[in-house]
């Protein structure tokens, strides 16, 4: 058993920032991550980091833009915390040496981005995430935080009081990928989840293979509610074979989308008569899919993004990177042919419910980054708002966990304060009704001990035992390979819970997920090795994806309106009277329980009035 | 990280065949360098027969130079020296940061030049050996 004050799970932008912050508060911090820190998916971010740095701009404007972008589903205290702290955090990165792009006068460059009223996106070429991740890892090395890399966290060690709000998290259980050892990590002060998004629930995503939402699934099963899971951002231009992102910059420079019939469909089919290709992400994604669904897609799968008319010189000057991406990942020469593109899952707005200090409703359990939902993005994330979220909320969670004096949070977590419960209209039984392994919640990865009656170390030990058993079971049983389950799950998610959602499709998805869950009962790991058993780990990740896919679908089915990234055929309009509330999902002994919490639109000194979202 | 470690198949399989220009240049430079030091030592050894007197020296040299093998070896030595010089110049340029992008071309150029110079000097070297 390892022991530290603060255990940070995950080493992307959020995890690194949290660890550094906790260390600066004097805590003994360790990072446990299934990948070496520099392999985290934060490195893939291209565009930039929003921060109101210059005269003429203000955090209030940034907050306004963010609230509007969120389609009024963001919580004002979280949004204001983000926008107020972002400038300091960005300058902190600069002081840590991050290689930002520069102006003539040597100051950090900023550029305009979709949905922003001021060019406030700081960036480092088209590799902002890479620079951010590496800069922070370097500072982590400097600060001497202990890193357990290639340790896959399997579960949390949480007490099992009746109400999640009374539970406490005492650590995590992790699997050493290189040796197959299962060990406990006790956290004296707190555990911070920073495990990134659940993109792999979809078969076509810009996210990494490692983005399996493990932290969300673990927290969910430990009783922490998942918030607004139905809000998934789909990016309209990703390469069909790999999902690699083709930046919005191509359309910004004048790239044109064509269907199989050679029509410039954004205009000719009337999807966006004013903005055409430059309409917002969700609009373009829906247009592309409509074309494909109506038989005008190329190979029944994608459309063409053509930039040849821009001329070689301009392309080389501004979009050189895109040429490499198309060449390396699709085998297409963007100077000679149009590039194939289709919508791809890109970002999860929802996640583990937290307040603006990163706390969840379980004591000692924090979450930050894409896996968390303090609710800054609401129904739709603006480009360039995820990276500031990592550093702002990563730092806050780290400080809080290390015991720093902080302003109490305004956002409430768990079933406290104002909330309403609801029924789920599902065609099948949801969740894991006492099926996986033993029938009790222990084996199911929920909670482990009678509240308070045992000491903290044995709570962690019990969790370790439970995980050891699970691993052994997976290794020794005989059955099907998880990849079959995973690919079926991904297929159904992309087919039914994509940019277009309609009741019947969502219900079909729930049926398919039920079936996938039932088949998962029979999975086994065929690689018998304890050394670097990726088969085992992916099998475990698939379980997490099942839980999250189900949560996303339940949310999508419940929310009968069109808001931000979520669109419903039955109700293609925003319904503020009914739906200015967060979708919350709690795992109640294996059964998902749906409830709602009102959105907080009251900011520090103003209230954000919902307006039509038009640009 | 690997000297004591034998991966059988991997370490020797297909490695040298895939060497790039810079690697070959390194291999050749190393080889020629070692030949040259070797020669330097023998050379001085041979020359120091002069310490044993005039006749001994002239005798040794003329016997040696009279042998065809020695003449051919001398052509080899020239090739080795020329390559080492030319590639050495290439390396000096590299050290100064000049022409790094065309390092492969300059390597090929040294090879070709070495060949040309060697061939051109064969008559002179072999003169009187037959």
């Amino acid at each position: 058993m390892y022991e530290h004050d603060v255990i940070v799970v995950g080493a992307g932008g959020a995890g690194l920032r949290a660890a550094i912050a906790a260390k600066n508060e004097g805590a003994d911090v360790a990072i446990v991550s299934k990948l070496h820190p520099v392999r985290s998916h934060t490195g893939a971010a291209e565009g930039g980091i929003n921060a109101a740095l210059r005269e003429g701009d203000s955090w209030e404007d940034h907050a306004y833009d963010t609230m509007k972008g969120s389609d009024y589903l963001g919580d004002a205290p979280a949004i204001e915390a983000l926008c107020k702290n972002s400038p300091n955090e960005v300058i902190q990165l600069e002081h840590w040496g991050m290689a930002f792009s520069r102006e003539e006068d040597g100051r950090v460059s900023q550029r305009p981005f979709g949905g922003l009223s001021f060019p406030r996106t700081t960036y480092a070429g088209a590799e902002t995430g890479h620079q951010l991740l590496h800069t922070m890892y370097e500072q982590l090395v400097k600060s001497g935080v202990q890193v357990y890399d290639e340790w896959h966290v399997l579960n949390l060690a949480v007490t099992d009081e009746e109400r999640p709000e009374d539970r406490t998290c005492h650590g995590v259980v992790a699997y050493d990928v290189q040796t197959g050892e299962v060990s406990g990590f006790r956290a004296r002060n707190g555990v911070i989840l920073a495990t990134g998004g659940p993109g792999q629930a979809f078969d076509h995503t810009t996210n990494a293979v490692s983005c399996t939402g493990d932290g969300q699934a673990m927290a969910y099963r430990a009783g922490v509610p998942l918030e607004d899971m139905e809000f998934i951002q789909f990016h309209p231009t990703s390469l069909p074979s790999t999902g690699v992102l083709i930046s919005e910059g191509v359309r910004g420079e004048g790239g044109i989308l064509y269907n199989a019939e050679g029509e410039r469909f954004m205009f000719e089919r009337g999807y966006a008569n004013n903005d055409g290709e430059l309409a917002s992400r969700d609009v373009v994604s829906r247009a592309e899919l409509t074309e494909v669904n109506e038989g005008r897609g190329i190979d029944d799968e994608y459309v063409h993004l053509d930039m040849r008319h821009l001329g070689e010189e301009r392309i080389l000057d501004r979009l050189e990177n895109i040429l490499h991406l198309a060449e390396d990942f699709e085998g297409v020469d963007g100077l000679e042919e149009p590039m194939p593109v289709k919508p791809g899952q890109h970002y999860a707005m929802g996640g583990i419910e937290t307040n603006e200090n990163g706390e969840t409703c379980v004591n000692g359990l924090y979450a930050a980054g894409e896996c968390a939902c303090a609710s800054v993005h609401g129904a739709n994330r603006l480009g360039g708002n995820a990276l500031p979220e990592l550093i702002v909320f990563g730092k806050r969670a780290g400080k809080h966990a290390a015991g720093a004096e902080m302003e109490p949070a305004k956002i409430e977590t768990g079933q406290r304060g104002e909330y309403e419960t609801a029924e789920i209209d599902s065609p099948v039984t949801l969740g894991e009704p006492g099926s996986f392994g033993d029938a009790d919640a222990v084996a199911d990865g929920g909670t482990v001990a009678e509240g308070g009656s045992v000491d903290e170390t044995s709570i962690v030990e019990r969790a370790v035992e439970a995980e050891r058993k699970k691993v052994d079971e997976l290794l020794s049983s005989d059955g099907i390979h998880h990849s079959e389950v995973r690919s079926d799950l991904q297929t159904t998610m992309t087919r039914h819970v994509n940019v277009f959602r309609e009741e019947e499709g969502l219900k079909q998805a729930l049926r398919d997920i039920r079936e996938a869950r039932d088949r998962y009962e029979d999975v086994a790991v065929s690689d018998p090795s304890r050394t670097f058993n990726t088969d085992l780990l992916q099998t475990i990740e698939t379980r997490n994806l099942l839980d999250l896919a189900e949560a996303i679908t339940i949310g999508a089915l419940a929310r009968e309106e069109f808001r931000g990234a979520h669109w419903r055929a039955e109700a293609p309009e925003r319904k503020d009277d009914e739906w200015l509330k967060h979708t919350m999902l709690s795992w109640n002994d294996g059964t998902p329980e749906l409830w709602y919490r009102p959105v907080i639109l009251e900011g520090e000194d103003k209230t954000y009035e919902p307006k039509t979202r038009s640009y | 990280m690997s000297q004591s470690y034998n991966r059988g198949l991997i370490e020797d399989f297909g490695r040298w065949r895939e060497f790039s220009a810079g690697m070959w240049a390194w291999v050749f430079h190393k080889f020629t360098g070692w030949v040259l030091v070797g020669y330097l030592f023998t050379h001085i050894a041979v020359l120091s027969t002069a310490l044993a007197g005039e006749a001994a020296y002239t005798g040794t040299i003329q016997t040696l130079e009279g042998l065809l093998v020695v003449r051919i070896l001398e052509v080899g030595l020239l090739a080795v020296a020329v390559f080492h010089i030319l590639n050495g110049l290439r390396l000096l340029m590299v050290d100064l940061g000049i022409g790094l992008e065309s390092q492969d071309k300059s390597f090929y150029a040294s090879l070709i030049l070495t060949g040309a110079i060697t061939v051109a000097s064969v008559p002179t070297f072999l003169a009187g050996a037959f």
């Binding site: - | 000297q3 190393k30 360098g33 070692w34 040259l36 030091v37 330097l40 030592f41 001085i44 050894a45 020359l47 120091s48 002069a50 310490l51 005039e54 006749a55 020296y57 002239t58 040299i61 003329q62 130079e65 009279g66 003449r71 001398e74 020239l78 020296a81 010089i85 050495g88 110049l89 390396l91 000096l92 050290d95 000097s121 002179t124 070297f125 003169a127 009187g128 050996a129």
Partner: protein
């Protein structure tokens, strides 16, 4: 892990000298080859001829310098190559001193030969 913060920087100096000697050797070696194979032919070498050249002080000093630089360059090159192959610790020290001794012998022997030609009889 490589050792850090050595205030002693032999690597750097030897590296630089390897370059300087190389630059010098280009000229002298080319001259040497040219003189002894193209101006005079190999089959014509005699003690007398060598002697005649050595008696010129400039030629004599050039050759001594040639000998010293070539020895340094060659032996240092060999030493480097061995370090590159991972030679460390005692072995490294042994090799280093062996090479130093060999170089010393080489130079001494070379100078004695030159002296013999030049008619100097110190050694």
């Amino acid at each position: 892990m490589a050792e850090r913060y050595s205030s002693f920087q032999p690597g750097g100096r030897r590296w630089l000298w390897q370059r300087i000697t190389a630059a010098f050797l280009v000229v002298v070696l080319a001259f040497h080859f040219f003189l002894l194979h193209f101006v005079y032919h190999a089959d014509e070498v005699t003690f007398a001829l060598s002697s005649a050249r050595m008696e010129s002080w400039t030629y004599y000093s050039l050759m001594i310098l040639f000998l010293i630089t070539a020895t340094f360059h060659g032996v240092n090159g060999v030493y480097n190559a061995l370090i590159n192959q991972g030679l460390t610790g005692t072995k490294q020290t042994v090799v280093k001193w062996t090479l130093v001794v060999a170089s010393a012998i080489l130079i001494v022997q070379g100078v004695r030969t030159a002296n013999a030609w030049a008619g100097i009889s110190i050694l």
